[in-house]
Amino acid sequence: MKRIVRILPHATIVMVGMFMFFWVLDILNPTMNLINRKASNKLMIIMLVLALITSIMDIYHERKYDSLKTKDET
């Protein structure tokens, strides 16, 4: 589980990097139409799920850290 938690942000970074690359190529050559491909749409859903999980994890860890910090102070 810990390993998965560590890998998730990197997977998100990889997916975001891919879409940034597609976006630049589409600007240069719109006929490539990389972002609107069927496979890209599936990748986009994966990216959204990863981003969502990563964000939730980040919020969870931040809140946990804050509560631990508050406990330590008291």
Partner: protein, 383 residues
């Protein structure tokens, strides 16, 4: 000492960057390179048979294309020996000369091609460059006939034309095509199969279809969107945001923006061919459009192919060589539009270009492409 030794930040950045590259490479390999047959035979949307065929008159034997003589060869150029039309030369001789030149060019293939890649600084993203258009329209175009084909169903005159000096020189091949009926102007698919990334060489496709003359098409297989109608068979009709060119069964050719294209209404008129690449270049009356549906990157000087319409049964296909300063720098869309207008076309449409821009006559290259590449479709005469 900690068991879970953390990777340094720079290592993490490098690893993630490499992973992005690997992911993009894998995606491109599977989705952009590997062929996927669509397993569809398409829907017949138009048929050209003896009952509904519109026949067009072919020019008589030895009669030259009036457009070529009147509007392209300048007064100056008629005095020039190099511009004298060479009808007497056999096509094979002319083409073999060009082939040897192509080989020579390949050997010394310049690295300077990339210097020209963005050489279109005066052109706005969507606006036609009036200076470039006027330069072409006022150019001293010289020409040399390289092919004369007079068949029962089609007459083809291919002229090699050039203008400009030094690194600004543009060389192109203009095929003046007369057909007896629209079904003589055919399209062929790579491996005779419709699908994504299915590619073949123009020579194989020309040979498989017994084509006398062939030129690259719109590379429909590179995209999942855009209307594709080939020889009256509709393979897909989902639109993207590119201009569309339609050849109707009555021999007329029209270009549309994607906004004005009403698929059902257009298909009802009898569509023989529909291409989705573009942009369209002329306004339907022979004038260069004020703006093109393209990007700065695609608008730069490159090898080009374009199809033009003069009247039903009379078409022009032009292939501009490029990326080879001194021989031909290639054409921007403004220049290509001006060339098509100069050729006497009322409607013209840009086909796939770059390495795809190839013209073949009787199995041999007519132009000198930039390396050449496998493509998904051709436009051809014969078979």
């Amino acid at each position: 000492m900690s068991k879970n030794k953390r990777m340094p930040v720079w290592g993490m950045i490098v690893t993630d960057t490499l992973l992005v590259c690997a992911a993009v490479g894998t995606f491109m390999l599977f989705d952009y390179v590997m062929p996927h047959s669509a397993n569809t035979k398409g829907t017949v949307v138009a048929e050209v048979d003896s009952a509904n065929k519109t026949s067009f008159a072919l020019p008589k034997s030895g009669e030259k294309s009036g457009v070529t003589e009147d509007s392209v060869v300048s007064d100056d150029s008629t005095d020039d020996e190099s511009s004298v039309s060479q009808d007497n030369d056999s096509p094979a001789n002319s083409i073999s000369e060009d082939s040897s030149r192509a080989e020579k060019k390949k050997k010394e293939h310049h690295e300077h091609t990339k210097e020209n890649w963005y050489d279109n600084t005066d052109t706005d993203e969507y606006t036609a460059d009036k200076n470039l258009v006027n330069n072409v329209l006022n150019a001293d175009v010289q020409s040399e006939r390289v092919v004369t084909y007079e068949g029962d169903d089609a007459v083809i005159y291919i002229d090699k034309k050039w203008f400009g000096e030094g690194d600004d020189k543009i060389t192109y091949y203009s095929a003046d095509i007369y057909v007896s009926s629209v079904d003589v102007l055919k399209t062929g698919l790579a491996k005779d199969t419709y699908g994504k990334n299915i590619k073949d060489s123009i020579f194989n496709m020309a040979s498989e279809n017994n084509a006398v003359f062939a030129v690259n098409g719109d590379f429909y297989g590179n995209s999942e969107e855009g209307i594709v109608v080939r020889n009256g068979i509709k393979y897909r009709d989902n639109l993207n945001d590119v201009d569309i060119c339609v050849l109707f069964t009555n021999g007329e050719m029209k270009t549309y923006t994607y906004e004005e294209f009403d698929t059902e209404a257009v298909l009802a008129q009898g569509v023989w061919q529909a291409w989705c690449f573009g942009p369209m270049l002329l306004d339907g009356k022979g004038g260069v459009l004020d703006s093109f549906n393209t990007t700065t990157y695609l608008n730069s000087a490159n090898p080009r192919s374009a199809i033009g319409y003069i009247e039903p049964g009379h078409y022009k296909i032009v292939t501009v060589d490029g990326r080879d300063p001194g021989y031909s720098k290639g054409a921007t869309l403004s220049e290509l539009a001006a060339i098509m207008a100069d050729e006497g076309c009322t409607t013209a449409y840009n086909l796939d270009g770059g390495c795809s821009a190839m013209m073949v006559y009787e199995g041999e290259l007519v132009n000198i492409p930039d390396r050449g590449r496998e493509i998904s479709d051709i436009i051809y005469i014969g078979g």
